[in-house]
């Protein structure tokens, strides 16, 4: 029993990192309605910029975190300009293929500059385990959870209390109507992209800092984890992204504890596949998604 609670707790903390990735995905998907496969690789660029600063200037965790976020934002801008701004609306597949091409570019860039397999990444400092009633928790994980909650809170304020947030929500709701209301959709998309990349950068930093090695495969993993968490929760929904991330974290953790690392990945994909088939709207299925799903069922 105590193991079960312990695993669930660990799952929630890892899930917080996934939830941040999923929020970034959801923001981009919300305003664009297109899939950005290069989201993970652009975060990876940030992580490697952080590693670079750490290795060459022996920087502490704060400058590394800032560098990670800046790197992710720069790569995100590059992706947005090349794959979404330049390609006309309606050619969603062309956009997806282009993001894939960018992904290959970014991964190649990283392997050329950083030829070794793994690199070190700074931790948040030496920290003890916190113990409570037989449960233990790494302090870094607690910090990760805290930062994730803080980020979600800030994002909520940004989306629901500012004009920028209003315009993002308007574009997500109906891009054409938003344009008629005088919203510069291109600019909103651009800024939402920067916001999503920044959130991704923070998530990348937190995930790598608790497991302090970096590999060029990080981009792929970040894309997959974020995508799975977003889809589990339901596309375009921020509460859904959080729920999906936490669910993914918990399921992965239990699977790993019971059956090992390989079953963990298989379970994540199987869970996603089943969810998409039987509950296409995700955990938070409601409104349009639920109606569409109901309509599909009738057909």
């Amino acid at each position: 029993m105590i193991d079960f609670i312990q695993n669930t707790l660990d799952g929630i903390t890892i899930g917080a990192g996934y939830a941040l990735l999923a929020i970034g995905f959801t923001l981009i998907f919300g305003v664009l309605r297109r899939l950005n496969l290069a989201y993970g690789p652009s975060i990876m660029i940030g992580v490697f910029l952080g590693t670079f600063i750490y290795l060459h200037f022996d920087a502490g965790w704060l400058p590394v975190a800032i560098a990670t976020v800046i790197g992710a934002i720069l790569a995100g801008i590059y992706v947005e300009r090349m794959c979404f701004w330049a390609i006309k609306e309606g050619a969603a597949l062309a956009s997806m293929v282009s993001t894939f091409a960018i992904w290959m570019q970014l991964e190649e860039l990283v392997t050329v500059i950083f030829p070794e397999r793994t690199y070190k990444f700074p931790t948040l400092g030496e920290m003890d385990y916190l113990e409570f009633a037989g449960l233990e928790m790494r302090a870094e994980h607690l910090i990760m959870l805290g930062i994730a909650v803080l980020m979600v809170g800030l994002l909520h304020v940004l989306l629901y209390r500012t004009r920028f947030g209003l315009s993002v929500r308007a574009v997500s709701e109906n891009p054409a109507a938003a344009r008629f209301m005088g919203i510069n959709t291109g600019r909103v998309i651009f800024r939402a992209f920067i916001l999503a990349s920044a959130i991704g950068g923070v998530a990348g930093f937190l995930l790598v800092a608790t497991d302090p090695t970096v590999t060029p495969k990080f981009g792929l993993q970040a894309t997959f984890k974020g995508l799975i968490a977003m889809m589990l929760g339901g596309m375009g929904s921020i509460p859904g992204a959080i729920a999906g991330g936490v669910l993914l974290g918990i399921v992965e953790r239990h699977m790993q504890a019971e059956f090992g690392a390989i079953m963990r990945d298989m379970a994540a994909y199987a869970l996603l596949f089943l969810f998409l088939i039987f509950r296409p709207g995700g955990i938070m299925a409601q409104g349009v998604a639920a109606r569409e799903a109901a309509a599909l069922r009738r057909v």
Binding site: L35, A91, A92, V97, F100, I102, M104, I262
Partner: protein, 303 residues
Amino acid sequence: MDFYFGMLQIVGLHTILGLSAYIILLTGQVSMAQAGFMSIGAYIAGMLTVLAEMHLIPAMLIGGVAAALVACIVGFPALRVKGLMLVVATIAFGEFIRIFWFNFDYQISRGGVKLGPEGGEGFKQIRFFPENGWSTLDVAIFIWVVAGAVIAAVWWMDRSRAGKVLRAVGEDDLAAQSAGINLTVVKVSAFTAGGFIAGLGGSVYAHYTTHIEHLNFDIVMATFAIIYPILGGLSNVFGTILAVIFVQVFLLEVLRPLGDLRNLLFGAMIIVVMNFMPHGLFSAQVASRIKGVFSGRKEGANA
């Protein structure tokens, strides 16, 4: 000379892979599971020739049918999701199959040598071609016989009523349904046919490389499969072939001297093409200029 034969082999294999995605794309579905279907064909045909010592051709057909069966089973639930959700669902399924092979161990000992797939180590020694003394040219010809058969079949299908039905579903499935087309049958058959072709391609691929492992069939391969028809445009099969030549010969071989820069340029070239020709190199407009057959089609319908 072997270099050019090798080139010919790669183009042939990737044409088969691209056409397997082409059929499914015609119905407006994007399948990122083609690499997974391909791996099923590859592993099963490999096990049949190596472990059961079967001849290549029946083994290929069995591999193709097995992949088609799996594709058919995936096709049914895939009906429930559309667009982006289908992309992600098929990515998930493809990765699921890949991890399955990563765990798959089935080895027998023959003459002191262990044969068969060995989990993460992959499946080595699929030596049907070298054991039977086939030269590179023979293999290239064989690949092109298979690829030619697939091209001819898909081209014929495309021109027949079946092709019109697939395209009708791809353009607007609601309209197609109200015209009396059974969406379930059409979409699932497209998946099954795509799975069969991918399985066939996979079984040839396994014997061509002689060593397969789960990493051969990752999302990169899956994306290549759909890049070809998208880059080539969906107006007919020749677009896909053109795209395979563009990617495999021009982008990957002609640019090879550039070394590490190649992949960077590769990405840039794909983006340039997609930016200026979002409907592919051999788009409906180009085709209509050549033939004037598709001139009535709505622009951008395949996007």
